[in-house]
């Protein structure tokens, strides 16, 4: 994280952190690539923020080593690591103007006055704060404060930018705007971004890879479509979005996938089924399921009864119950929903073979 202007490559090797008897982070091993946009995603208390603080140097891990560009930085204090950091609530210096806030990291690096002026000016332009240079943080809107925080963290060209839930205080429309802005800054600077959030849609929209945490453990790391379509376990599957789960019996390996019995009807899956055999849970995202009057031969399907509908405007959300009592939710066009409701108990839910995946039966 020490070479300015060059994205850092970070390796976390067996990082663990205990606060007394509380295990905040357990045996975390993770490589963060040069110039990557990695999101740490998880519920509160999952260990994602602890890991970010360890990366920044504000928290010392109880075990494990941390490497930046091959150098062991585990024992290096925060001020010498100088990762750019954007805090929840921005943490701007309230007694300094916008300009002085952004100049601060350059001043502590003893840059010349001319260089500071030039780089602060460029940064103010880049984040769209021209005209606000002399204002104090208290005189700015939430979105503007956010921009100052980003500018201050990027102005000294850190190897990595750490962001701790930076958008949690912004309203929804502003949040979308800032997300786009951050994506642009990531592309322009080429710096490694490590971003913490508990918002799964934000994580999927922004990142090149997502790392999902729960109870101090890293559960899965992968590209957004990878973790969404092929979650490693039930927690990841449920945390990333709505999911329908159907019990599957007699699961066995088949040509490029697996087959099994779903409520006495043979269904098939594509892709690596993992450790197959016996009972499992078949998981399908609601948007991949459709409603049909009858499932054709060889098509994946299950019969169900619509129990409830919620009008969402563009679509209708239907709650259904299968013959054996599994609950399923789908989002379908409004007229399809109306037809399904009028038919009473005889609709079929179908889905393409490549959209189903297996989760271990019971628990995680």
């Amino acid at each position: 994280m020490q070479q300015p202007g060059r994205a850092a490559e970070i390796k976390a090797n067996g990082i663990g952190k205990s606060f007394g008897s509380f295990r905040a982070l357990d045996n975390l091993t993770l490589d963060i690539g040069r110039g990557e946009f990695l999101t740490l995603l998880g519920p509160s208390g999952s260990g994602k923020t602890t890991f970010l603080m360890i990366l920044a140097g504000f928290v010392q891990p109880t075990e494990g080593r941390l490497f930046s560009d091959g150098t062991d930085i585990t024992d290096r204090p925060a001020e010498q690591r100088a990762a750019g950091m954007v805090f929840q609530g921005y943490a701007l210096f309230p007694h300094m103007s916008v300009e002085q806030n952004i100049a601060f990291p350059l001043k502590v690096r003893k840059k010349s006055a001319a260089e500071i002026k030039k780089r602060v000016g460029e940064m103010i332009e880049r984040v769209g704060l021209v005209g606000h240079e002399k204002k104090l943080p208290a005189q700015l809107s939430g979105g503007q404060q956010q921009r100052v925080a980003l500018a201050r963290a990027l102005v000294f060209e850190p190897g990595v930018l750490l962001l701790d839930e930076p958008f949690s205080a912004l309203d929804k429309s502003l949040r979308g705007q800032m997300q786009a802005e951050m994506k642009r800054l990531h592309q322009e600077t080429g710096t490694t971004f490590v971003f913490v959030t508990h918002d799964q849609s934000e994580a999927l929209a922004l990142s090149s890879r997502v790392a999902i945490f729960n109870h101090g453990k890293l559960l899965q790391v992968g590209a957004p479509d990878e973790v969404y379509d092929r979650p490693a376990n039930r927690f990841v599957a449920e945390f990333l979005g709505e999911i329908n789960m159907l019990p599957l019996k007699g699961v066995r390996r088949a040509d490029n996938g697996a087959t099994g019995l779903c409520e006495d009807r043979a269904v098939s899956l594509r892709g690596n089924p993992g450790s197959v055999g016996g009972n499992a849970i078949l998981a399908i995202r609601p948007e991949y399921m459709s409603i049909a009057g009858e499932a054709s031969a060889g098509e994946n399907g299950v019969a169900a009864t619509a129990t409830n509908s919620t009008y969402l405007g563009a679509a209708t959300r239907l709650d259904l119950t299968t013959r054996q009592g599994a609950k399923v939710t789908v989002s379908v066009p409004n007229e399809v929903a109306a037809a399904a409701l009028s038919k009473g108990n005889s609709v079929w839910l179908t889905w393409p073979a490549e959209k189903g995946f297996l989760l271990p039966d019971g628990g995680q």
């Binding site: 504000f58 204090p77 925060a78 001020e79 750019g84 805090f87 929840q88 943490a91 601060f104 750490l162």
Partner: protein, 277 residues
């Protein structure tokens, strides 16, 4: 956060006895003092004229301001260090700091002044010890002069300087300090360019409280100054009780009250009253 009419009336009723007492015991008699300043010994502005020309009165005012300024600087600096430990130290350090801040409130100002005499006088503990270890051969003059007054007043006022500082330090967002370090600032630099400026309102409040208190000090300078470092309050006492010069004493009082009033107005422009406790 409701503030209905009945709430306000209730608050006014609760404050009424105190306000009535303050008016009867302070404001009303003070009006009498103001009257004296214009009427004794002869009606007119003669006493205020004397204030501007009397060398003794002027030297006392200058000394009072000088002592108050020095006491303010030393007290606020010392209180800043103590408050830092009290607010941000380890639990054990906090306990010790709290003890040091609160204990002085239980000992009367008179007792403390005589305590300092016992420590600082020519045959006091400090001079005796310094001579015993051979550090000095003649006793140092530590008391019955301005030095003694400053020591005694500073000691008395440090605890009062602590509270506005503590309030400012407690309301400070720790993440801002982390941010400074994360941006590459050393602990020292973070302290001076982030922590101290962010506690500015506390420093101003603390300094004004100490300064205002210092201006009216009577017992401490009377005992530790030994008549050689007379401050304004003692001068008023001398004019009224020893030389029958009530008009001049009254005029000095009026000037002092106006000056303190102006400082208090300044104080409340910078900080809200609740930050002082």
């Amino acid at each position: 956060m409701r503030s209905s009419l009945s709430d306000r009336t209730g608050a006014a009723l609760l404050m009424a006895p105190l306000l009535l007492f303050l008016v009867l015991a302070y404001a009303w008699p003070f009006l009498g003092v103001v009257k004296w300043s214009f009427t004794l010994p002869t009606p007119g502005l003669g006493q205020y004229d004397a204030l501007l020309t009397d060398d003794l009165v002027q030297s006392v005012f200058v000394r009072t301001l000088r002592i108050a300024a020095i006491v303010t600087i030393v007290s606020v600096a010392a209180a800043y260090a103590i408050t830092l430990i009290w607010v941000r130290g380890t639990p054990a350090q906090r306990l010790i700091a709290e003890f040091c801040i609160l204990v002085p409130f239980w000992i009367s100002v008179l007792t403390r002044a005589f305590g300092w005499v016992a420590l600082l006088s020519n045959r006091g503990l400090i001079n005796t010890w310094l001579q015993a270890i051979g550090f000095i051969s003649e006793p140092l003059t530590l008391v019955r002069n301005e030095f003694g007054v400053i020591v005694g007043m500073t000691h008395f006022l440090i605890p009062f300087a602590v509270f506005p500082l503590a309030s400012a330090m407690r309301s400070l967002d720790d993440r801002v300090l982390l941010a400074a370090r994360g941006l590459g600032s050393s602990r020292m630099r973070t302290f001076w360019s982030v922590f101290v400026p962010m506690t500015r309102s506390g420093i101003i409040g603390s300094a004004l409280i100490v300064f205002v208190f210092s201006l009216g000090f009577f017992v401490t300078p009377a005992i530790l100054g030994g008549g050689r470092s007379v401050m304004v309050a003692e001068l008023i006492y001398l004019r009224i009780f020893q030389s029958p010069d009530w008009g001049l004493g009254a005029a000095i009082s009026v000037v002092l009250v106006l000056f303190v009033g102006a400082l208090m107005a300044l104080l409340f422009r910078y900080i809200r009253p609740k930050q002082l406790v």
